[in-house]
């Protein structure tokens, strides 16, 4: 039996077993490859998406357990119309290999939605589940602060 999911504002009928994690529904079934596979055990954050605005590790949420509307990196902005947080990533030239950055951005977006002016300690707390092997952390931190101040002005 197909499962109904709302992803980035669009309804989908998913014909996969109930226990397939949301990550693999998005990537292999819906074709939304912006959300990345890194570890499969919620240890790296590369697969972070929003469910009803909350940042979750999509590798740990079974298809049948998805409790709300799903937003992925593709849903918050596009190359022609980037979200403020994505623009801050570009302005600060954050990415190196770039593989973890979808997850970093989704985690940071959820942080800013909850806390519009995060301190360094708040950023440490919110972002420490997101691994970056290129070590882009200083620029991620700067981009989050910058996005926070831009969003405040807006």
């Amino acid at each position: 039996m197909a499962t109904a999911l709302k992803i980035n504002g669009k309804q989908h009928q998913i014909d996969l077993p109930d226990d397939v994690p949301l990550l693999w529904v998005l990537r292999d079934e819906v074709g939304l490859t912006g959300t990345k596979f890194g570890c499969g055990v919620a240890a790296c954050g590369a697969c972070t998406v929003h469910i009803d605005g909350e940042a979750v590790r999509s590798c740990q949420v079974a298809l049948s357990d998805v409790w709300g509307d799903v937003t992925t990196i593709e849903g918050i902005g596009s190359p022609d119309a980037m979200a403020a947080i994505q623009q801050a990533w570009v302005d600060h030239q954050v990415a190196q290999c770039g593989y973890c950055q979808s997850g970093q951005i989704m985690q940071a977006a959820a942080l800013l939605a909850e806390n519009p002016a995060p301190s360094d300690a708040d950023i440490d707390d919110a972002m420490q589940g997101n691994l970056c092997r290129c070590g882009t952390y200083p620029r991620i931190r700067a981009a989050i602060h910058d996005a926070a101040s831009k969003l405040k002005e807006a």
């Binding site: 077993p17 994505q86 030239q93 990415a95 950055q101 970056c132 882009t136 952390y137």
Partner: protein, 746 residues
């Protein structure tokens, strides 16, 4: 072609005889230019292997892989500087795997000199030797060579394209080429009319390319300036295509399990449970492992895990202790190389104080964020492979061989790399994906490794041991006698790539050990090769990654034995030997406000490594926070001569440092019953947002020759941290990782 194996071995494991042979061989081939691999269609002009101009604009076929180091952007800037196009008008694509993309600089790195003392003669010899890269079809991204390699060639490509476009316009307008100017992708006529380059594509295609002298650096608009990275918007919006993101019509998804007893055979398996699991289409016998093809990667992985496999033993001692005992045995044999032997180390000078120390570092995994993967489509008489890789020509040879096809029947598509660090220079992921796809001809199959499979089937950074003896007198080092023992990743890689045993002195094993710019009168550094079959390979900065720790921890120990400040002690030995190196130390001294005295609860350490042509000094600060130690700050100074994109260089420097610090704090691959004991990031963690230091980088430009950027930030980070921990606690760090000795913040 037997000579390829021979030359490859010589060039990886360089000795003086190989240079002589190499030059002659290379000179013969250099007279025959490599075939242009771009086959322009109607209305397109491929002016050289790098630039394609058509009605849609200017496309750069970047022959180097973008794995986060910004190479595409800087190569585009090199072209744009001469071609007079705006940087954002250029489209950058990975070039097809083709012989014309030889990596000329990689071979030059093999010369048996220290690097920093290179003479103009040797520099030119290095340039000349670069042609060997072409004869080997060595299209490789590695060794921090991309900028050295591209600096001349890409600008020449741009200049030649510009002048040929001007000639096409001159022919059309009936004027002399010298009357024309160029700007922003247009040829400008004497009357001010502008002809877009794209309109000239058809005409220019009929002309022979025209050579032109390169512009003086004083005229540069892009080079030496920070450019916005061309891949940044894609990477901020989830639209950058990595290997694992390739999607083709009708594509299937596969998961794989290879023998965890690395190099061991597969004795048999029972797939009866797996076959009937949801989504499963096929179980594939890979000879030394199994794969499952399904309609979803996760379902494939569930099924492959359900196969009961009987694995045969690995060809190395089953546990870490036994492996390190074999490494230590290598000290009993004659050294493989002694690339530095100054003065006489056999006697300790009268009145000098002798010190000794032994150090040990573990095997390490690369742990790229994107696990190994590749997508293959096999049709019986042709093969296409999509993957992020650092060596497309080598992959092409390997998968052609796997599929029993001519290389002409194989196409390699290189995507973005979700991290490389040396891992994606290997060929296994392409070979496995090819074998899987061959089980389902006509259907594209993407084979993705689980994180566990990736972590436990790496070509690891070799574990290594160093035995150091030194002497200090009157506050100075007067003797260093060092021995390092480890497996040879170069010899093993040569065997892997060519099927022929590697031999000869291995410079990579002792890089960062023998070639450091310290004026010590009695100075001998030897490398001993451990005979072991643990799979090992090239990990960011390679031999420097262990030797930096050994050399610079020992320098610190000697400074303390001499009663000197560790930064001043190094500076004193370096000043007369290599000024740019001393300049880096002086820079971090000033940046960090180094006084040699850190307050209570704070420790500071300094280290320096010259690698890949670039001297790098780092100061690391640690703080004790209620018994937990946090890395709080880092200062880095580097001097690569000419920094083509300074902000990108800074990113590479602090990124390289973070990679090294991650390994120093937590990184360790260990073995039990022949299998790697680490499975995933919880067992093999790295620095994270809250454990990464604040960092300040200074880029100096006094060095006479251009150095690399991607790797030199890694080696000094580990000893700088160990030395800082000594400053804080009084305990010397002689073994990595450091979380086993110190209460580090996690």
């Amino acid at each position: 072609m037997a000579s390829v194996g021979k030359i490859l071995r010589r060039t990886f494991l360089i000795g003086s005889a190989a240079i002589v042979g190499g030059v002659a061989f290379g000179a013969y081939y250099v007279s025959r230019p490599a075939a242009n691999p771009l086959k322009p269609g109607d209305g397109q002009a491929a002016l050289n292997p790098f630039v394609l101009i058509d009605q849609n604009g200017v496309t750069l076929f970047a022959p180097r892989a973008e794995m986060g180091q910004g190479v595409q952007t800087t190569w585009a800037a090199l072209i744009a500087e001469e071609l007079d196009v705006d940087l954002d008008q250029i489209t950058v694509l990975h070039g097809p795997a083709a012989a014309a993309y030889y990596n000329s600089a990689l071979i030059g790195e093999g010369l048996p000199n220290k690097g920093y003392d290179i003479s103009d003669f040797q520099h030119n010899l290095g340039e000349a030797l670069g042609v060997l890269g072409k004869t080997l079809s060595l299209q490789v991204t590695g060794g921090s060579t991309s900028m050295k390699d591209g600096f001349e060639r890409m600008r020449q490509a741009g200049a030649s394209a510009r002048e040929t476009l001007k000639q096409a316009a001159a022919n059309r307008l009936g004027v002399d080429r010298s009357e024309l100017k160029t700007a922003s992708g247009h040829v400008i006529a004497p009357n001010g009319d502008q002809i877009p380059y794209t309109e000239l594509a058809t005409e220019v295609a009929k002309l022979e390319p025209i050579g032109a002298p390169l512009r003086d650096p004083s005229e540069w608009r892009y080079l030496g300036q920070t450019q916005p990275r061309l891949d940044m918007v894609e990477k901020a919006t989830g639209t950058a295509e990595f290997g694992v993101d390739v999607r083709l019509p009708g594509m299937k998804f596969a998961a794989v399990r290879m023998n965890p007893k690395l190099g061991g055979a597969m004795s048999g398996y029972d797939d009866s449970a797996a076959k009937s699991m949801p989504g499963v289409e096929k179980v594939v016998d890979l000879g030394t492992g199994v794969a499952v093809i399904a309609n979803n990667t996760w379902l494939a992985n569930q099924a492959v895990e359900a196969i009961d496999v009987d694995w045969a033993d690995a060809p190395y001692p089953p546990d870490t202790e036994g492996i390190f005992a074999k490494i230590a045995e290598a000290f009993d044999e004659a050294p493989n190389s002694t690339m530095r032997d100054d003065g006489d180390v056999s006697v300790t000078p009268d009145g000098a104080t002798e010190i000794t120390a032994e150090y040990q570092v573990p095997y390490l995994a690369h742990a790229t964020m994107e696990p190994m993967n590749a997508t293959a489509l096999f049709t019986g008489d042709a093969l296409e492979v999509w993957c992020g890789n650092q060596a497309p020509t080598l992959i092409k040879f390997r998968v052609a061989n796997t599929a029993n096809l001519d290389t002409e029947a194989v196409q390699i598509h290189t995507t973005y790399l979700g991290g490389g660090f040396g891992r994606r220079g290997e060929l296994d992921f392409g070979e496995i994906a090819t074998k899987v796809a061959m089980a389902m001809p006509g259907t594209p199959v993407q084979t993705t490794w689980s994180r566990e499979e990736d972590m436990r089937h790496d070509y690891f950074r070799p574990g290594a041991i160093a035995r150091m003896r030194g002497a200090v007198q009157d506050g100075k080092a007067v003797l260093i006698d060092g021995k390092v023992a480890a497996q040879s990743c170069t010899q093993q890689a040569v065997t892997r790539y060519t099927g022929m045993p590697g031999a000869g002195p291995d410079k990579v094993l002792v890089e960062g050990f023998f070639n450091q710019p310290y004026a010590v009168p009695n100075y001998r550094m030897s490398g001993h090769i451990a005979k072991l079959d643990v799979p090992v390979g090239f990990w960011r900065s390679v031999g420097n990654s262990h030797n930096g720790f050994f050399h610079e921890t020992f320098m610190d120990e000697m400074a303390h034995a001499a009663g000197q400040d560790p930064l001043e002690f190094r500076l004193e030995l370096m000043k007369a030997e290599h000024a740019p190196s001393a300049g880096c130390l002086e820079a971090v001294k000033e940046m960090s406000g180094w006084t040699g005295q850190a307050p209570d609860g704070v420790g500071r350490g300094v280290a320096f490594t010259y690698s890949f042509g670039t001297p790098v000094a780092q100061v690391i600060e640690v703080v004790d926070e209620d018994g937990t130690i946090r890395i709080s700050k880092a200062w880095i100074a580097c001097d690569m001569g000419l920094a083509l994109d300074p902000e990108n260089v800074k990113a590479q420097m602090f990124g390289g440092m973070m990679y090294g610090l991650s390994a120093a704090c937590y990184g360790e691959i260990t073995f039990a019953e022949g299998e790697v004991e680490q499975y995933n990031f919880p067992d093999y963690d790295a620095l994270r947002m809250h454990t990464a230091p604040q960092v300040e980088v200074r880029v100096l430009e006094t060095n006479r020759h251009m150095g690399g950027a991607g790797e030199p930030g890694t080696p000094p980070s580990m000893p700088a941290l160990g030395n800082a921990l000594f400053d804080l606690t009084g305990e010397r760090a002689r073994k990595l990782p450091l979380n086993q000795q110190f209460n580090l913040l996690i």
